[in-house]
Every structure is written in structure tokens, then in C-alpha cells.
């Protein structure tokens, strides 16, 4: 059992949890994730670690409501427990002095980009961050990202905050202005990561994306998370989750992630029938995914 030390909504349908997991906190490096299972009948889902505090023995995760499990998770509060939390899994992000780095985060992907942006900044890189959200309420970690960025750009789909547009519009501007970029890190919905990779391809700017395939054990045992990278099968859990965005077959990833769409929908519907409507922080449209892990 892993006790939740703190839990708070940071945007509608997006909740941050601080979980007591001393072993994981001690070993966590930016870019890694945990797999958790809420209860005896729960599924195993991967979620990126947003932050860790080895001294307190805690890790934090940011969870967006997309289905039954994330909905159940978002009903939990400080003092509650999660049955299983295992990690840190996956290879850590490559942290080095690259020079000038652009970190692109979309939706809840910002929470996953944050630890890597922090580590890249600490390594001496110039960090330009572009974060995007649907609207003003959905912008997360603005203050945190600003702290670790030399420059921060924000876009919203509806223009209700900062600039109206997509994160790729801002990246395009940087490219048009011939800004020197040594590395791009993109974390967010698949269409966003694909679009970023397409933009940087012709200038051969190294572009890292963090993939979110279906996963069960997270240790390489099941092979469910296989992704096609440079024409070869790679396991996101042990070979990733970060890969060269120019080599990833995003179409295969999208297609494989749709495998259980009907089952997930059914699961959510049956759960909603059982459940009284829950008010706190869950908007009507929270059911649609804005990417990142679940």
C-alpha cells in the first residue's frame, strides 16, 4: 500500500498526487514513470513521475481524467492509499549540455516534460519552453516551468489565455526566426508530438518524444508496449519511453493505442452508472483525452 500524502486539483480534471514511495523517490530520474494499480480489481496503468523528494520519500504524479481508472484515482485524497506503485521504470531522459533546448509540452504532457526541463536547465542548457493547453483553466505548471526556463511561451486553443494557437505555431516561429536549437523535447498528445517531429525534420534538429503506448508489466515481460522505431520493434517500457521523434512510426502507435477503445468506453460507462456524479473539479468535457499517459 502506498499512502497519498497530498492531493490537489491543479486544473479541471487534472490532479497532482504526492505519494509515499521511498524506494522510488530515491531512484527516480527525469523521464521515468511508475505503473500503478488502485485496487484488487484494478488495471495497471503507467504514469510519468512529475517530481520526487528523496528526503521525504515521496514522488508526485499528475493525472488527467480520461477513463475509469483515472477517474477513480482522481477521487482519492490525502490519507487514502494506492494498492501498487512500481518504479521508477523506463530509461531516464538523456541529460547533457546540448546548448539550446526547446521543451514542448501539450496538455498534461507539461507535467511529464517538467522534470526533464529542470534537469536540462541544471545541466547548463538554455531552455526555451512552449506549453499549450485547451484554455486558461487547463494551463498547468506555469510557475514551475517559468522557473526552469530561460524563456516560456504559452498557447491556448481558444485564446482565453496567452496566445491563441498551437504549440507548433510557436515552434514554427522559432524556426522562422532562425533561433539556434540543438535539441527539441516534445511531450504531449500523439498528434502534437508527430507535428513537432515533422517541423524539425527538415532542419535535422534532434527531437525526442516521450511515448505512451499500452503497457502492463512495465519491465519488458509482456511486449504490449512495442512501438515501431526506425522500422524495428522497441519496447517503450525498457527501451524508452523516450525515442527519436524522427524515427517513430506515430501511425502504428495511434492504431495500437486504439485497441481497447470500445472496452475502455464500456468500462467508463458502467462505472459512471454506479457512481453518483462527483462535483469537485471535473468538467463536463473531462472525458476527452488531451494526451500524455492516461
Amino acid at each position: 500500500m502506498f499512502r497519498i500524502a497530498n492531493a490537489e486539483f491543479i486544473a479541471p480534471g487534472i490532479k497532482r498526487f504526492e505519494i509515499e514511495a521511498p524506494r522510488i523517490a530515491r531512484k527516480h530520474q527525469a523521464g521515468q514513470f511508475v505503473i500503478l494499480r488502485l485496487h484488487e480489481r484494478g488495471e495497471r496503468i503507467p504514469i510519468t513521475i512529475e517530481n520526487s523528494n528523496p528526503a521525504c520519500g515521496t514522488i508526485s504524479i499528475v493525472v488527467q481524467l480520461v477513463g475509469k481508472t483515472t477517474r477513480q484515482l482522481n477521487l482519492l485524497n490525502a490519507g487514502d492509499s494506492i494498492l501498487d506503485v512500481v518504479g521508477p521504470l523506463g530509461k531516464p531522459s538523456e541529460i547533457a549540455l546540448f546548448g539550446s533546448v526547446v521543451v514542448v509540452g501539450g496538455g498534461v504532457g507539461v507535467a511529464m516534460a517538467y522534470p526533464t526541463a529542470t534537469a536540462l536547465k541544471r545541466a547548463g542548457n538554455r531552455v526555451i519552453s512552449i506549453i499549450g493547453a485547451r484554455n486558461r483553466g487547463s494551463v498547468i505548471l506555469e510557475r514551475e516551468m517559468r522557473q526552469v526556463s530561460d524563456e516560456l511561451m504559452i498557447t491556448t486553443d481558444d485564446g482565453s489565455y496567452a496566445e491563441k494557437g498551437l504549440v507548433t505555431d510557436k515552434l514554427q516561429e522559432l524556426l522562422d526566426n532562425h533561433t539556434h536549437i540543438d535539441l527539441v523535447l516534445a511531450v504531449g498528445p500523439i498528434p502534437m508530438m508527430r507535428a513537432v517531429a515533422e517541423l524539425t525534420r527538415k532542419d535535422h534538429i534532434r527531437t525526442i518524444v516521450s511515448l505512451n503506448p499500452i503497457m502492463i508489466d512495465g519491465t519488458g515481460m509482456c511486449g504490449g508496449c512495442r512501438v515501431l522505431v526506425d522500422g524495428r520493434s522497441q519496447f517503450a517500457c525498457v527501451d524508452g519511453p523516450e525515442f527519436d521523434g524522427h524515427l517513430v512510426d506515430f501511425a502504428v502507435l495511434t492504431q495500437r493505442n486504439s485497441t481497447y477503445r470500445d472496452a475502455e468506453k464500456r468500462s467508463m460507462e458502467e462505472f459512471q452508472h454506479e457512481l453518483e456524479p462527483v462535483a469537485a473539479g471535473i468538467p463536463d468535457d473531462a472525458g476527452c483525452a488531451q494526451g500524455g499517459r492516461r
Partner: protein, 482 residues
């Protein structure tokens, strides 16, 4: 009278024993069990067990015991069954095997004890596996009595992985007075026994009972720890002060075929397919949350000829598959699966397509599997494994309509521990190098056994490696000599 006869409680003359036919294991009828996950074999009654035990010839040189990888004293435990001392028989098995209820169900006895039984020459071998299962289950029903443990040595051993080798090491060492803690990456204990082998062949409560018994003996367990990630072997030894470590992490990454279409939805590794069903109980979706592709009315094939392949396809049948095929590139004689599983599978209606090799997974045009393009094979000269090599027959290509395919062609080494442990030597395929007798690795105080050393093998061979490791670890902890 020979000494054997004087000690024997068996009243029958050898000629009479030979005349008794092998007692059939009561089974769930094939047409029923093909639709449920309840165990296929129902187990001997006490009468059946005694009747079967009476068949034992009590050989003066029992080859069955020699052929048992863990050296179970078959003749002695069978005698105790004849004498009606079932708990005594269980205790006798436990001297050499801490997981009798499991091996009694999944061990390929025909390759070991039963294969060497003298009764084979006269007819069918003694049902040693069935008898082992009977006494283990009897013991469990009566409330298992833990074997005595030696006084505490103060030495601490970390066991990595709670599969058959790890559980064996833990049981053997805790009996010798060492403090043992088992680390498991998954949320349930048992390794392949819980994620791999289905309920209808090995009920999970059997595994839980065996684990509980080890716990009662003093073994500590910690789940959700991926050694190499959550904590390294170096840290276990240097910071958590374990005196020795046993690595029994088992079969690793599933192998794929590297043929076109392998990324289509509906193409699974056997590990994923079985983990969803066994560990995650996806067959009870949506009562359990992990989803599973709906197999009702669909045509499903497994590729491979081992026990894992049969477990997968028989599970698919139980989940409503209309057609369920085993596609294997050699002939039935070369199939590594247990004879009993092949027989059970055939009774249930599994279709065997032997001498067939897939060459392409075909799309249904919507991202899902629609069929499998195959080639017929013929057997050529023997290959490195000693089995005749399958050779494609030119122009024999054909297509099989399919919705789901499960790849069960084996595994390769999982590199997580090897890449995070200093001074741990591996072979060219990435498996951990360990001495075949002592199971010592290149790293002082670190031992390894089971599939992570040998590559994919069986439960009983992993347990045998566990036994050797426990003996060797005990020696190391007692003498300090490496």
C-alpha cells in the same frame, strides 16, 4: 524375501501390481471445460490414489528418483500412500520439493520420473505426478504442517523473483535458519505460476497457499520491487546488508517473429495475452478493469508448440473463440509441450496445424489482424537442437483467416539486472552466467538460477536450480568461502 519387500506395506505380488491398470485422472468433460477456467484435472480420491500407489514396483534402484531434477524420493512417498499415511507422504516429498502441489500439476513427468518408470515396459508408467498432487492437496486440506526450521543464523538473503526458482531457494534457506526476503516486480507472488500458467491448469489459490506456507515458515515478501530499477543488487548488498543474493528473474522479453504486420492490433505475445488473462483477470472484464479483446466468435491462432502456446490457445477457446489453431513449424513429435496438455487440447477441439510457418500477418484494412499468410514445411536434417530442421516447401503458401494471433516462440534475456549490477558476467545471448553445480555467478555472494541462466525451460528445472543454489548459498554463508 528382499529387504525392499520386508519394508513394504504393499501386500501385492509384483505380478499382481503389473496387472493393475493406471488409474485415470478424473477430468472435467472436454465439452464443458472448453468454456470455463475451472481446473481440468479433478484430482485422485484417496481410493484411486491408493490403487495407483499399489502399482509401484518399489525398484531397488529407483530410476524415477534419479530422473527427478529435485530428487523427490518417489518410492518412499508412494509407500507411505500405500500405508495410508498421506501426511507422511507429503512430508517425505517436502524434504526435496517445497512446491509439490504445483509440480504435481505442471511438471512434465514423462520427461523425468514417469519416463524412467519400469512399468512403462509393461504398459503405462506409475502416475507419480497424480500421486504427488494428491498428497500435496490432501496436506493442504488438512492444514499443512510447516517443516521444522533450524535456529537463526543471523544471515540475510535477498531473493529476486518469486517464481519457482525463487520460492524454492526461499523455502530451502529459511529452513536452514537464514533470514530470507523475496522481491517481486509484479503485484502478485508466484512469477510465471500466476502470470503465465492459466487457472484451468494451475489454480491460483494453489499458488497462494504454497506462498502462504512459505510466509508461515518465516519468508518475507516485498512486491512492486523491480530489482535493477527500484533498488540494485549493489544497493541490496552494500546498503541493505544482504549477505547473499539469488537472482531468479525468469524468462525475459518475448520474442517476435519480425515478419510484416506484427504491429497490427490483435497480434499479441503469449506473455501479454496470458498476463492479461491470468494475472489481470481480464476474462472477467469489466468486473476487473484490465481489458481484453473480445474473442467471441473469432478465429484465433497461437504460433509455437510449447506449453505456453497451448496455455494461450486453450485460454482463447475458453474466452469464446470459434476456431482455435496451434500453428507449429515442425511436426507433433518435436512439440515441446507436455503430452497431457496436447491430449487435453485436442479433446477440447483445438486444431493443430503442424509443419506450418507464418510469413505475414495480414491486415483487415482497419488496423486489425485479418489473416495469416503461411507456408507449409517439411523436415530436413537435424539442427543444433537435435530436432529435424523445418524447411519451407516452395509454392505452398496459403492464407488463414484470423482475428487474433498469439506469438509463443520463446523469450530472450531481460537485461535490467545485468545492466545495473557491477561485475555480473553474461553469455553472448545476455543470460547470466552461473556455475551449473553451485549456481554461483561471477560476482561474490550473488547466485542465479532458472530461466535467466538457461533460457526458457520448465518449472521443475528452475526449482532444481533453486535447490542447488540454496545448498550452495548455505555453504557460502556457513564458511564465508567463495
Amino acid at each position: 524375501m528382499t529387504p525392499v519387500a520386508t519394508r513394504s506395506p504393499n501386500p501385492l505380488h509384483l505380478k499382481e501390481r503389473i496387472k493393475i491398470p493406471r488409474q485415470h485422472m478424473p477430468e472435467q468433460p472436454a465439452e464443458e471445460r472448453a468454456h470455463n477456467f475451472t481446473e481440468v484435472n479433478l484430482g485422485y480420491s484417496a481410493e484411486l490414489a491408493r490403487q495407483e500407489a499399489l502399482r509401484c514396483l518399489e525398484c531397488e534402484k529407483p530410476t524415477c528418483m534419479d530422473k527427478c531434477p529435485v530428487g523427490v524420493k518417489v518410492r518412499e512417498f508412494v509407500r507411505l500412500i500405500v500405508a495410508g499415511d498421506f501426511l507422511g507422504a507429503a512430508a517425505k516429498i517436502r524434504e526435496d520439493n517445497v512446491l509439490p502441489a504445483i509440480t504435481g500439476r505442471v511438471c512434465p513427468q514423462e520427461d523425468h520420473c514417469e519416463g524412467s518408470c519400469k512399468l512403462c515396459k509393461k504398459g503405462e508408467s506409475l502416475g507419480i505426478g497424480y500421486l504427488e498432487r494428491f498428497v500435496a492437496d490432501y496436506e493442504q486440506r488438512m492444514g499443512a504442517i510447516s517443516p521444522p526450521t533450524a535456529s537463526a543464523t543471523g544471515k540475510r538473503v535477498a531473493v529476486v523473483g518469486s517464481g519457482p526458482s525463487g520460492l524454492t531457494v526461499a523455502g530451502d534457506l529459511v529452513q536452514r535458519g537464514h533470514q530470507v526476503r523475496v522481491f517481486e516486480a509484479l503485484h502478485e507472488l508466484g512469477g510465471v505460476l500466476v502470470y503465465g500458467i492459466p487457472e484451468f491448469r494451475l489454480p491460483k489459490n494453489i499458488v497462494h497457499e504454497q506462498v502462504d506456507q512459505l510466509r508461515a515458515m518465516g519468508v518475507e515478501f516485498e512486491t512492486d520491487v523491480v530489482v535493477g530499477k527500484t533498488v540494485t543488487i549493489d544497493e541490496l548488498m552494500e546498503e541493505e546488508h544482504y549477505d547473499a543474493v539469488f537472482i531468479g528473474t525468469g524468462a525475459g522479453l518475448p520474442l517476435f517473429m519480425n515478419i510484416p504486420g506484427e504491429h497490427l492490433n490483435g497480434v499479441y505475445s503469449a506473455n501479454e495475452f496470458l498476463t492479461r488473462i491470468n494475472l489481470m483477470k481480464a476474462y472477467q472484464f469489466p468486473k476487473y478493469d484490465q481489458p481484453m479483446v473480445d474473442l467471441h466468435g473469432k478465429d484465433v491462432a497461437v504460433i509455437g508448440g510449447g506449453n505456453t502456446a497451448l496455455d494461450a490457445i486453450r485460454s482463447a477457446l475458453r474466452l469464446g473463440a470459434r476456431k482455435a489453431y496451434v500453428i507449429y513449424r515442425r511436426s507433433e513429435a518435436e512439440m515441446p509441450a507436455r503430452a497431457e496438455e496436447v491430449r487435453h487440447a485436442r479433446q477440447e477441439g483445438i486444431e493443430f496445424r503442424m509443419l506450418t510457418s507464418p510469413i505475414e500477418f495480414l491486415s483487415d484494412g482497419k488496423g486489425w489482424l485479418g489473416g495469416l499468410r503461411c507456408m507449409s514445411m517439411q523436415l530436413g536434417e537435424p539442427d543444433a537442437s537435435g530436432r529435424r530442421r523445418p524447411v519451407p516447401i516452395p509454392g505452398s503458401e496459403f492464407e488463414l483467416p484470423l482475428s487474433v494471433a498469439v506469438i509463443a516462440i520463446g523469450t530472450s534475456a531481460n537485461p535490467v539486472i545485468q545492466s545495473t549490477t557491477t561485475g555480473l558476467a553474461t553469455d553472448t545471448r545476455g543470460y547470466i552466467q552461473a556455475d551449473t553445480l553451485t549456481q554461483r555467478t561471477s560476482r561474490k555472494g550473488v547466485f542465479a538460477g532458472g530461466d535467466i541462466v538457461t533460457g526458457t525451460a520448465t518449472v521443475i528445472l528452475a526449482m532444481a536450480a533453486g535447490r542447488r543454489s540454496a545448498k550452495s548459498i548455505h555453504e557460502y554463508l556457513s564458511t564465508g568461502l567463495w
